[in-house]
């Protein structure tokens, strides 16, 4: 029986290229979309497991509008075997809790015999890093975030390296379980044949009904958190501008400011 890995990815706007509308909201039109860089680490990790001489099936899934098929085609080209897009107007406006619930319903209904779920540590648009832990809870399985390396994979457990604030740990997780890997900026360059093949492969598109979801738990309705206000960061300091003096005079000025703040402390 194949060892089934579910890789959850997100299509994100290229955050290096954010532009603003005159109303101080983010200009979404014309924004390039890419696979979240951390999710490339997740795909890479799944590919690595596949290379370990095992019968591995990689199922890649994302939730989003129909355009997200682009990212799934890319993921197929990078080595994933099957791709699912969870797409329904009812899913829109989902926060991390509603997203985790929707993903969990997909996994329970379509890949019930999964062994491993791999997510990227966080998405570069939201930076919340909440969906993986939330999803593990919804699936009722063990989890580990900030995973940097697979050490050993057996039939019913896996050994991983995990980073915390104070240490690097070697941990053992039973299978099935979920890991979020924090390998960012990985380049996966599929060859041209994989690209051509992936463009021809079918992406399975699933709506709310086919996932057997409770409508109160999905999309905007199922999202407890709401954005009350979004704004461009505003700096509140008043700046005193100093120019046309000598560097010697500025050095004296800086020293006096340093002495002032040291004196405050005495």
């Amino acid at each position: 029986m194949a060892f089934k890995i579910v890789v959850c990815i997100k299509q994100v706007p290229d955050t290096t290229d954010i532009r603003w509308t005159e109303h101080n909201t983010i200009q979404r039109d014309g924004l390039d979309s890419v696979i979240n860089p951390y999710d490339l680490g997740a795909i890479n990790l799944a590919n690595y497991i596949k290379s370990l001489n095992r019968e591995v099936e990689i199922i890649v899934v994302t939730m989003g509008p129909l355009q997200a098929q682009d990212s799934l085609h890319e993921a197929l080209a990078m080595g994933c075997d099957e791709a699912y897009l969870l797409s329904d107007k009812k899913f829109s406006g989902a926060d991390t809790l509603a997203t985790a619930y929707t993903l969990s319903q997909f996994i329970k209904n379509f890949v019930p015999d999964f062994k491993l779920v791999i997510c990227g540590q966080q998405a570069v648009d939201g930076d919340t890093a909440q969906t993986p832990s939330s999803l593990a809870e919804k699936l009722g399985i063990a989890q580990a975030t900030n995973i940097t390396k697979l050490i050993n994979l057996c039939d019913d457990y896996a050994i991983w390296n995990k980073e915390t604030q104070l240490c690097t740990q070697t941990i053992k997780l039973p299978l099935p379980s979920l890991v979020a890997c924090s390998c960012n900026n990985i380049e996966i360059n599929p060859d041209i044949n994989s690209y051509i093949r992936s463009q021809k492969s079918q992406i399975k598109i699933l709506n709310a009904e086919s996932l057997n979801v409770l409508e109160n738990n999905i999309g905007l309705k199922g999202s407890p958190t709401q954005v009350k206000n979004a704004y461009r960061p505003i700096i509140t300091r008043t700046t005193e501008f100093l120019a046309e003096s000598s560097s010697d005079a500025y050095a004296d000025f800086i020293l006096s400011e340093i002495n002032k703040c040291k004196a405050d402390n005495d």
Binding site: A129, Q169, T225, Q226, R232, R237, S247, Y250, K262
Partner: protein
Amino acid sequence: MTKNVLVYIEIDENKAARVSKEIISHALSNFSDADINGIVLADEQAINLALDDLKKCGVNKLYILKDNLFDTHSTCLFAGVLERFILENKPDILLIGATPDGRDLAPRLASKLNIGLTADCTDLQVDSEGKLLATRPTYGGKMMATIISKTLPDFATVRPGAFKYNPNAVHNEPELVYINPDISGLSSLMEIISSENKPRIDDWTCSEVIIAGGLGLKTKENFDLIYKLAELLKAKPAASRAAVEQGWAPQDIQVGQTGNSVSPKLYIAFGISGAMQHTAGITNSDKIIAVNTDKDAPIMHTADFAIQSDAVDIINSLIQKLSN
């Protein structure tokens, strides 16, 4: 009506973690009409070693949940224990430090309770109706979003360094509430096989004076002057992301959205243009001096004093004055 605030306190090196203290300090001075309590999960030994410091945190009640299984952080176990505590005690607001362990734990707990959670906040306020307004940077710090939740408790994780902690504040001793938690049916699921401590860098992010350098210093040799100046001033050196990417400085001393948030009394930015990425990490500084040749660089509009001049000349002049 008095809001019942519960802060999850992590223990770090026999003390309450700095971020936990920062959260409590912020709540004490910003939440009006709030009853601020703390909860700690640890084994007996860790509690005994940290108790003196825990008492100084400023909370009214400190719930101490003790079990031998709590000797290391375990998200699955701790989330189960906290779920039971929260269902029983019903706090209005729940706050956790956005450390790697905190950000692992909080979403699992929120998912168990089916409640909203706002990640990695840099500001927290309570509105007139007593709801938590949780503000966080998003899109890599290019946008700020204020989030409210429809569910209770209001729940947020808080970025280390986002709030100021005043170590000199004197607080009343908390009432200690010891609880032997019911852990039946709960297990850790994760086994730690080995653990290697990372070299600990002393906490420089809240030192008095921070001297930071950026791309405007042009060469690694010039950047090295930042270290020299910092040493002469007994200040801490820091770098912008661009300087780190050039290989002039290690990532440990990077300031900004993807680096460290700092809160010194005085932050001096030499040759840093001050992209939002960077300024997001310095807003808690009491005073900012920026030195840049480009008067239109963003940092020149975010500092208290903007000096249009060559950074290297001024650094050399400072080093000369201090060496004499």
